[in-house]
Symmetry: C2
Subunit: 193 residues, 2 copies
């Protein structure tokens, strides 16, 4: 009743993460994962429902780890410093797990419930940071969207080699974060009075 052990969904996803970070998300194929686990690719179907589910699990794991990293960085910090720490944690995560980060927006079905919940947790976390700046309700949500746009765009451009020139990327990031903070009052003025 309890046959062979060792293999399960987590192990498959972990192997996929390693491949993604080492060779890029495009290199994550069932064939490649199976090879890494010393197994034939149809065997994976005993634990996971095909490539689609593997990709969904990667998106989920990416969102959860990203959220955890941001939450950890935010611990006990608020205001400008909290924003800086959360931003750096976001970019650090994308740098340290580039393949996994790629999966963040590549879910086969972005409307999937679990994906939505994981994303909501991030929104909520950032919203708490925004509350220190007097932002609530729609103003807060718009600000969170701006924040995510900025950080996701930066992470993607950096990961994909979109910044051509040899100019310090950390400097770019620090300035961008400070500029974002300077712009925050706009959201308050426009919506919270």
């Amino acid at each position: 009743m309890t046959p062979r052990i060792g293999m399960d969904k987590q192990i498959i996803v972990a192997a996929a993460v390693e491949i993604a970070d080492a060779e890029g998300l495009e290199s994550v194929t069932l064939a490649r994962v199976a090879e890494k686990l010393g197994v034939r690719s149809p065997s994976l179907y005993n634990h996971i429902n095909g490539l689609q589910e593997l990709r969904m699990q990667l998106t989920l794991l990416a969102l959860n780890r990203l959220q955890a990293a941001m939450a950890d960085a935010a611990q006990g910090h608020a205001g400008e410093e909290g924003l800086r720490r959360v931003s750096r944690a976001y970019v650090s995560f994308a740098r340290m797990q580039p393949g996994l980060y790629e999966a963040v927006l590549r879910s086969p079905d972005p409307a999937e419930q679990q994906v939505g919940e994981a994303a909501s947790a991030i929104v909520k976390l950032v919203q708490e940071q925004m509350s220190c700046f007097g932002l609530e309700g729609d103003a807060s949500l718009h600000a969170v969207r701006g924040f995510r746009s900025m950080l996701h765009g930066f992470a993607e451009l950096e990961r994909a080699g979109g910044f051509g020139l040899p100019l310090d990327l950390n400097k770019t990031l620090e300035l961008m974060i400070e500029a974002f903070g300077r712009g925050l009052p706009v959201y308050k003025e426009a919506l919270n009075g």
Copy 2:
């Protein structure tokens, strides 16, 4: 000496763009393009060097059209209004050609010269807008990076369904642009004195 006409690289790329915009960049396969053109897929190799080159051409076309749209929007406008117009043009392009926009950062080789040149044209265009705010040199480059990060992140999040909540996206965009403008002095203070 001048055999069959009708087919050439441009036509292949145009078909690929239609498929990308209608079904997503992932659906752009040589098989699919060939089918659309009423031809067998090996025939495409007479005009284009495989899927890799097709993808590169898509990236190139995306960057060139994006640049053209931004340049057109900028015509005769500067300062806050110039920034707004360029930003809207960027997002409009991503909305109207979602599949082509996907290709912007998905070049097989981001270091390719032509890709670099096309990206540089965009950087230059945005830099000119930044000059109205008194930004030069490195300050200008950092600001351009922040601007691209913000717009690319917004475009990607919107395209991929990353913004879950039913909150007006145009409002988010307008606020984000204004907040960016508000933050611009940061770049000047930090680097141009």
